[in-house]
Symmetry: C2
């Protein structure tokens, strides 16, 4: 609900940012040309200089998210440590930690039901993340077939948790996150 003064000319980026905040807070239907224009302090007409239509904005938001949601996080984690065990702990605490963009994940997934482009993007992101965790587990010493299984399990917990939170459920505690990590990395059964 923040308002911006139109001190300088706007770029595509400004609209995408504002759109992402609306998405996280109100879902895909909350991303409205008129509302965003008011927030940014310009007329609706201005929007159509930057984008062909509302759909083009959604697509730009999707691109932005794909970059940040996967590669950006993976890069951060990779920079922090060489040790796969540490990486997994850091990653888990990032993805389960509450942020301003908490609603983003769940709301993209919901939007994917109606919009096949969104669905395709989700699918790609899911696969990248699951593969990354799978590789971490393999590096830790978990056999491949179990690593596949467990990385998938972790991801289901992530989706379940974000969806649940979105519909009023409580967040997972740090302790619960740690328990999951130790389950995933156990080398027996």
């Amino acid at each position: 609900m923040r308002m911006f003064q139109a001190m300088a000319k706007l770029s595509k980026k400004n609209w995408v940012e504002a759109g992402m905040i609306s998405l996280a807070e109100k879902g895909i239907d909350g991303v409205k040309v008129e509302t965003l224009s008011k927030q940014l302090g310009v007329s609706k007409g201005s929007f159509y200089w930057h984008f062909k239509n509302r759909d083009a904005l959604i697509e730009a938001m999707l691109d932005d998210w794909q970059e940040r949601a996967t590669h950006a996080i993976i890069n951060i984690v990779d920079d922090i440590s060489e040790d796969p065990m540490e990486r997994l702990v850091v990653l888990s605490n990032i993805i389960f930690r509450p942020t301003r963009f908490d609603g983003t994940e769940a709301n993209w997934r919901i939007a994917g039901i109606k919009d096949s482009r969104v669905a395709a993007a989700c699918k790609g992101i899911d696969a990248t993340r699951i593969a990354y965790v799978r590789d971490l587990l393999v590096s830790i010493g978990v056999p491949l077939s179990q690593s596949k299984h467990r990385s998938h399990l972790l991801y289901m917990v992530l989706i379940g948790n974000t969806t649940w939170v979105q519909t009023g459920g409580r967040k997972m505690s740090k302790k619960e996150v740690n328990e999951i990590v130790s389950m995933l990395t156990s080398l027996d059964g």
Copy 2:
């Protein structure tokens, strides 16, 4: 997309019926006061004599569906035979068979994501159906704990199938339905 002539005065029922068709064909967002009015050959104002607002129509549709989707089907099945095995076969072929209201199920479920009343209705319907199938399996001789398990499994297949169909997947064949039934009713492992 059918049009009706306003030969007689309309009742709530007419609006609910038209709404259900729109829901099945176009999803919850396709249920529009203006569109329905045109289809029924009356003005938008007419709608607001029957319903407080669009939301009240959705609620009436939900009530209609709850009646028909569960109890009506169960009554039909119960009337056809006393034998639980036959009942299960008949039921499976009803719920997996393509009908004009095929989209209804999946679209209610999708609407449930945004509307907690819809979500609650889905939950109740799910529970009733699963319990009914569970009881059939128990009558056939499947142990209770396995019956719970298998009725739940069948229901997941049902949801998966309808959702999949809604997003462009193919329907299940009669043969596949029969295979599921024989799996569920097997008395070993």
